[in-house]
Each structure stands twice: as structure tokens, then as C-alpha cells.
């Protein structure tokens, strides 16, 4: 299990990660963006509270290379974003970890081509054709455990560019922004500095399914600041080697 750690984490997620790993006998590799910064592999923009979203690509690629991994599984889905809508289940990456949308391999029926040369790799997305609500129906079916932040809870938040950010040691309200305690939950969980909460009373799985079935805004559109830098923000990052 590989965790690319930007250092801006929700406490609940780290607690959940450590508990799951110790219980299931997995080996956990933590690839730290802070280590990449300290080693001079990447340059931090905007100080310790700035977004490390783009920096983590280098950390990920270094970790995959040092582990000499041929394949890395991820949970990306095609319904999330329009560059992801273009991706294969087995997504080929060249020796620099880069994605070329024009050079993707055919994937007839459920036949997947995992042939790679030394240094190349595939990213594997078994949930490609699932939607957000499919994931939640599966969680209900298997009664899976989740970090508590996916369900409604009280949290101090403030609004920035239409995104509800949590008050934390990395994110504080600036001029003209006021923090207040609201009942929220998270639809996606990423770096704390760019992941927004949604106002919600959904406290269990069934309530979440009902809520997202009626949602009029997509999960990333509602909660992710990293996709908003440009219309092709995801495509550009994926070309660089992002998941």
C-alpha cells in the first residue's frame, strides 16, 4: 500500500490508514512530499501552507521507481472528470511515468494489455466504470468501514472561492473570510488545503446514497480546488505522471 503524503492530512484519515494496515497485514510505504522538497527534487510554491497537489507527482514517480513497481492500482473513475473519462482500465505510462492520451492501447471487451518494457509501468483502475453512487452502493452491500469524515459531523469551516475549507494548522480564514462551525461531510478526501467539505446531514450510508443521487453538482466540482486552475488541469497533471 503506497500513500503519497503531502503532509496536509486529515487526522481521521491517518488514523483510519494506520488501523487498517495494522489489522490486515499490508505493508505500508509512505512517500513524503516533504522529503522530496528537502531533497531538492521539487520546489515548494506558496510556503508550507501552499498546495502540494502538483508536487506530489514527482514524489509518486520517485516512489514507483525506487520500488521498481510494474503496476500501481488506483481508485480513479471515469465519471470524475473529463480527462479521466478518456483513460483505459490499464493505463500505460512511459519510462517517465507520463500519460499520452493519443497513444493509448486498445482494450477490447475485458482483455487488458499489461506488456511493458523495463522502466515503463501501468496504472490500473479497476473501478473505471463505477460512479460515485455505485461506490456507495457497494459500501452498503459489503458494509465496509470508512473514515468518519465521509459522514456528517460538526466542523469549523470557512468559504473560499465557493469551496468550504476546514480551519486547520495549514488553512485559516484570510481577510474577509469568516470561520463558523457547520454540519458537513466530505465527498472526496485529498490534500487538506484543497479539499472542500459539503454541507450535509447524511450521517449513515443510506443517507449518503440518497444525498448524492439527488446532487446537482459533481463531487470534484463541489469539493476540489485543484481542478479549477484550468479546464485541462487534470489532463495536464496526468501527462506529467499524476494518478
Amino acid at each position: 500500500m503506497l500513500h503519497v503524503d503531502t503532509g496536509h492530512n486529515f487526522d481521521e484519515v491517518i488514523e483510519f490508514r494506520d488501523r487498517r494496515v495494522s489489522g490486515a497485514g499490508h505493508q505500508l510505504i509512505v512517500a513524503s512530499v516533504q522529503d522530496s522538497i528537502d531533497a531538492g527534487r521539487v520546489t515548494e510554491v506558496g510556503g508550507p501552507s501552499g498546495s502540494r497537489n502538483r508536487l506530489q507527482t514527482r514524489t509518486l514517480l520517485d516512489a514507483l521507481e525506487s520500488g521498481r513497481f510494474d503496476a500501481a492500482f488506483g481508485g480513479a473513475r471515469r465519471d470524475e472528470e473529463r480527462a479521466r473519462a478518456k483513460e483505459r482500465v490499464l493505463s500505460f505510462r512511459d519510462e517517465f511515468g507520463q500519460w499520452d492520451p493519443r497513444a493509448q492501447r486498445p482494450e477490447p471487451w475485458s482483455l487488458y494489455n499489461g506488456r511493458i518494457r523495463r522502466g515503463e509501468q501501468v496504472r490500473v483502475f479497476p473501478l473505471s466504470n463505477w460512479t460515485e453512487v455505485d461506490v456507495w452502493r457497494y459500501i452498503a452491500l459489503e458494509n465496509l468501514e470508512l473514515p468518519s469524515i465521509y459522514f456528517a459531523h460538526r466542523r469549523e469551516v470557512f468559504e473560499r472561492d465557493g469551496i468550504l475549507l476546514a480551519t486547520s494548522r495549514y488553512t485559516e480564514p484570510g481577510d474577509g473570510e469568516t470561520a463558523r462551525v457547520e454540519t458537513v461531510r466530505y465527498r472526496t478526501v485529498g490534500d487538506l488545503t484543497i479539499t472542500g467539505a459539503v454541507r450535509s446531514d447524511a450521517a449513515d450510508i443510506d443517507a449518503v446514497i440518497a444525498e448524492i443521487s439527488a446532487a446537482t453538482v459533481s463531487e470534484r466540482g463541489e469539493t476540489r480546488a485543484d481542478d479549477r486552475t484550468s479546464a485541462a488541469a487534470m489532463e495536464d497533471r496526468k501527462r506529467e505522471g499524476y494518478f
Binding site: 480527462a83 473519462a85 478518456k86 493519443r102 492501447r105 486498445p106 459533481s218 466540482g221
Partner: protein
Amino acid sequence: MAARRELLRLATAGSVDDGKSTLIGRLMYDTDSLPLDHLEAVRRDGVPDLAALSDGLRAEQEQGITIDVAYRFFSTGSRSYILADTPGTSGTRATCSPARPRRTLRSCSSTRVQAYCGRHDATRASPPSSVFRTWSPR
């Protein structure tokens, strides 16, 4: 436990500029399946550019064509749909094949062929009719 849901996969097949991406966009739009932020992202002068919903790559937007398959999803009360929008230009046939529905599933390929054009290279490259139930405008 929830009732078992049906899954229906649809792929477009047709020549370049026949309207495959627009058809997929329109299906999503008419079934009220588009998140508002996705719709807003493709609004040009107040009107949504439905083809741009699945032509999500930078080069596709610039050239106004589909270069690679895109997948879109929507669902009704009892059934989930996977819509595959395929390219129509010849030379992109290899990229079409991932969109072809799996044999084991009940599936159909929606074909929209402009009558005056007849069939093109791209439509002839469509899979054999034994696998697909195909319809075309009378």
C-alpha cells in the same frame, strides 16, 4: 439488500462530424444526468456545447473532433448506462475497440448514419451484427 440493477452499454459508431458526441451529450442532457458544473464548463455564449461534454481533451476541444473514446454514465431508477463516445476519423479504429460492449451483456450499438452519406470507413469498422443489435434511421 437492494434489487439487482441492470447495466446497459451503448457505443456510438459513425463517421466524422455525424454528431456522435452531440448525441451522447444530448442523451445526458435530456435525461437530466449532467452535473451543473459539467454543463457550465461547456457553455459557450449561453448555449451548452453538448459535444464538448465528452470531447474532454485539450486537442479535441481545439480541433472539434473526438480523438479517443470517452465514457459517460447515467442511471435511471432500475438501470445504469455506460455511454461510450468513439472517434469517427479513420486511423482511430484501434481506439474504438475498447468501447465495444462486452459480449456477455445485453448490449446494443446506436448507429446514426447520415442517409445521404451512406456508410463510411468508420461505420464499416463497426463490429459484426451478431454481437450487436443495430438500428439506423429509416
